[in-house]
């Protein structure tokens, strides 16, 4: 047989073999990530992609992305439509997640509201001579009957669901962006008036809009009770409108009609007093410009802030707590056709036309004619959302989160152009970012420091740990410097390495690694198969390689790290392996993503 025939036979055989296999699924995608150009292998690129757009890499994730294709995986994440049965099972027992805002407010009552309720129901008398035990049992049964619990239970559910979503959600990008946008539009459990609205804020205001248009997100936050309370806009009012003027004039006329001196009438005096002592609050107006849209260098002045405050005067919250004056008045007002007077009720948002400044306003170079009502606020938000300063500010923040602490200006400009062209379409902005070489640059890969939340969740995901008591993870995050949902300032947590890495917190990160791997965190159990079955250790060496590949895939763990890991002591091999997992999670490499 000559060589030509051999070659032909070989080609035929090759053909048959490929033919015999099932066709690989070909995913169509318009994207093509430039990672090869930047010197990354496909596997390294998959790890980078997962590190940036998930809360941590689970065993098997990298192969899954490789099989699927990086671009297709990313597009599926953008579509945010992966089934969530595992997550749903984990969240099943959290009933507050299914309640609307009004139900939440009326189901979780602070002590003083409970006392008020007991009083109003006539079941509580100040001189009741219950002993303490009896009294407590009585209250408990009363609350049970009314299905009322304390706010602490609501906060527990809120905190736990964030942890469970981060661990189990298949739409990881949505969860990562929910965290990002929540932090951008920060509100805080530390402020009581705002606390009970936060669950709905995250669920109804943030999450549905994370991959949509920025303007929608901005309007939704502006109208949200959580933000209105957090930045005091609920109390920012003006009497500079026809309704208020008429109210005062009519009262004066009525008094005068009775032939009395109007300015000696107590009703008139009180009204004037009230109007002198209440008015604008600039808190929301300023943070809207500085933190939500233009950025501090966005070119606005103190006068703009005051004008913005006037535009949002009267933007407030429907009284949701039942059986009190505010609520009763609101219910009565429904019969007066208040919409005709310019009032707007939209869910729990209430525009109070009689507390809105009706005058003409100017913000930057946008002019607003008198009597603009509720609409002028929307107009302003639209202008702000599509302002070039906003585009730059938002795109920079996204790039800091997903690319590096100091993203190149070229990248930000590219993203900002897309932002303006697409009217703030977050999907398109993210796509431009991942399609750019900067995303895959060596200055980006493994250069972001994990926040405590990212650290703890990624440890759980990397080891397939089961989490029965998610709150324990919250406690650890707190120790590590990230008491999430409680950050007091409207800036949200800073997003840069030196904020998270400091002497005290670093030791605690190591402590977390050791406590976690030794299963010392109550209700959190690492899957021991990661150190047993998967790597039935022939030798310590083999086990170390197996574990570090699993926990830190594609990190160029230098050989001497393995040397260090070998130093661990312990009677049983398993003890040693547990310590190795702890060392890896506490190691500098695992602090990066």
């Amino acid at each position: 047989m000559n060589s030509k025939v051999l070659i032909l036979l070989f080609i035929v055989l090759l053909h048959i073999t490929t033919f015999g296999k099932p066709n690989p699924i070909i995913y169509k995608t318009r994207l093509s990530f430039p990672y090869e150009q930047m010197g990354l292998t496909k596997r390294q690129a998959a790890v980078h992609l997962l590190n940036r757009f998930t809360f941590g890499i689970k065993p098997g994730d990298v192969d899954m992305v490789l099989d699927m294709g990086l671009e297709y995986w990313f597009e599926k994440q953008l579509s945010s439509a992966q089934p969530e049965s595992e997550l749903a099972a984990n969240l099943a027992s959290y009933d507050a997640l299914k309640m609307n805002e009004e139900t939440i407010i009326n189901s979780f009552l602070p002590q003083f509201e409970i006392r008020r309720l007991l009083k109003s129901e006539g079941v509580f008398m100040a001189d009741s001579n219950f002993d303490k035990k009896e009294y407590k049992a009585f209250i408990d049964s009363f609350l049970k009957e009314k299905n009322i619990r304390l706010p602490a239970e609501y906060q527990r559910q809120l905190i736990n669901q964030k942890i469970l979503r981060a661990i189990y959600s298949n739409n990881q990008l949505t969860e990562v962006l929910t965290d990002f946008w929540f932090n951008h539009f920060n509100v805080s459990l530390s402020k009581n008036q705002c606390a009970m609205h936060i669950l709905s804020f995250e669920r109804d205001v943030i999450r549905p809009n994370v991959l949509g248009k920025f303007e929608n997100l901005l309007v939704a936050t502006a109208k949200s009770p959580a933000m209105l309370e957090y930045l005091d806009n609920n109390y920012s009012i003006s009497f500079n409108n026809e309704i208020s003027k008429n109210e005062l004039n009519n009262r004066i006329k009525r008094v005068a009609a009775k032939a009395q001196a109007p300015f000696q009438d107590s009703g008139v005096i009180n009204l004037i007093k009230q109007r002198k002592s209440q008015g604008l609050n600039e808190n929301y107006a300023r943070e809207l410009l500085e933190l939500h849209t233009l950025g501090v260098e966005g070119g606005y002045k103190q006068k703009d802030v005051t004008e913005v405050a006037k535009i949002f005067s009267g933007w407030s919250v429907v009284p949701l707590l039942k059986n009190n004056d505010g609520r009763n008045n609101f219910e009565k007002s429904k019969y007066y056709n208040i919409e005709k007077l310019g009032f707007v009720v939209d869910g729990s948002f209430l525009f109070r036309a009689n507390r809105h400044d009706d005058s003409a306003k100017t913000v930057l170079n946008y002019h607003f004619s008198p009597n603009g009502g509720y609409e002028e606020g929307l107009k302003l938000l639209e202008n702000l959302a599509n302002n070039p300063a906003t585009a730059h500010f938002i795109c920079k923040k996204l790039a800091v989160r997903f690319v590096s602490d100091n993203p190149p200006e070229n990248l930000i400009k590219k993203m900002a152009n897309t932002f303006l062209k697409s009217k703030g379409n977050v999907k398109e902005v993210l796509t431009v970012m991942v399609n750019s070489i900067y995303f895959w640059d060596e200055n980006s890969v493994r250069k972001k420091i994990k926040t405590p939340f990212e650290l703890t969740i990624s440890a759980i995901r990397a080891t397939n740990a089961t989490v029965k008591q998610p709150y324990q993870i919250f406690n650890w995050c707190n120790t590590l410097g990230q008491k999430f949902y409680y950050y007091q300032a409207p800036t949200g947590f800073p997003d840069r390495a030196d904020y998270w890495v400091n002497t005290g917190s670093l030791l605690n990160r190591m402590n977390f690694g050791m406590a976690f791997s030794a299963n010392k965190i109550p209700g959190v159990k690492m899957d021991s198969t990661i150190i047993n079955n998967n790597y039935e250790p022939e030798s310590l060496d083999a086990a170390i390689i197996g574990i570090s590949n699993s926990i830190l895939p594609e990190s160029s763990t230098p050989k001497n790290i393995n040397r260090v890991l070998k130093l661990v002591s312990g009677k049983e091999l398993n003890d040693k392996l547990t310590q190795i997992v702890g060392l890896l999670i506490g190691s500098p490499e695992f602090q990066k993503r």
């Binding site: 002592s277 604008l280 103190q302 917190s505 002591s569 310590q579």
Partner: protein, 419 residues
Amino acid sequence: MINRRAFMKNGAMTLFAAGLGGVPSFVTYAANSNKIINPYKKNKILICIFQRGAMDGLMAVTPYTDINLQKARPGLFMTPAKSEGSIFDLDGSFGMHPSLSKFNELYKENRMAILHGVGSPNKTRSHFDAQDYMESGTPFNKGTESGWLNRAVGLMGHEGTPFRAVSLTSTLPRSFYGNNEALAINNLQDFSLKISGSNSAVKNTTTSFEELYDMTSSEILNKTGKDSFEAMKVLKSKNLKDYKPKIGVIYPNSQLGNSLKQIATLIKMDVGLEVGFAESGGWDTHYNQGTTNGTMARNLTDFGDSIAAFWADIDAYQDEVTLMTMTEFGRTVHQNGTGGTDHGRASCMFVLGNDVKGGNVYHNISSLAIEDLEDRRDLPVSTDFRSVFSAVASNHLNFNNPNILFPEWDGAMINLMRS
């Protein structure tokens, strides 16, 4: 004579190496004694407290004789009265808020000075920006990488221990950014590796972590790792339990109270603290600020009681310590529509120490008539914060180069320290 600092450092290391044995007698002696006769010259210690959120200086130390103030904030105005719980007249024109009553004695003893109308020449009314500028010490330059206290550490011209600059916060404050070593510790008790198992397991794991951080290519993790391990060893050589507050001293159970309690511990432990930093929050009183009761009064009580407790607790060290407070800006002269005040310009600060020329309100405030206000609404900044910071730091820490401390500034220091 052996250099005390080197002795401390080496001593601590030796103890650690020897297996964390018993507490040396001199430490216990120091801990149990109120007055220590220390044969070595002590270093000076500067403690800074940042009041985040912008304290209403016009309410803390109120120019009660100015009729304009009463007009602008009818619901928030306070005057001295004979009754309990009214403001304390300082000099016939300023009065101390009753919730700061613990300061009254310190002021009368001339240990406490008040500076009013202090702020930044940069007009920003953004919390974040104003804090950033105040802490970097460069009000017109965002790019300054270092914090002013870190530069101050560099100017002292001698070596320090790992505990030379300590912030009692969970993260490093902007004031401490820079090349000189500085620590952030939220809780001294947390400052250790908690590893279970045999002694050798503990030792091996500690060594392993140390090596891992020593090897990493990430600069920030590498440097911070080194600092952490060194500081941990020093702290381990001391027995924290031996350092309780002085009998009779009660710190408020608050962020500031706990921070100052731990700073006092570090001072008494003699681990080489030279610059301490603590924070106090909740000053952003847009809503229902209150007068003798309410948010502002609660904040001031915590603030005043914490500082007074600290001062009493460190009585053996008072000659070495100066304490200075700061806040990013003040609040509007007029009250807003919700019983509070909005972001303004100048506020006031407190400086406490035995080498402070106290018992005086330093200020250049003329009147609060609307035409004298900045933007017709705010107490104008008549004293640059740098003229106070530099006076306190350079006199107390004994260096003379405010230009390095505050580049791009050539103003004059306020003469409020005995040098």
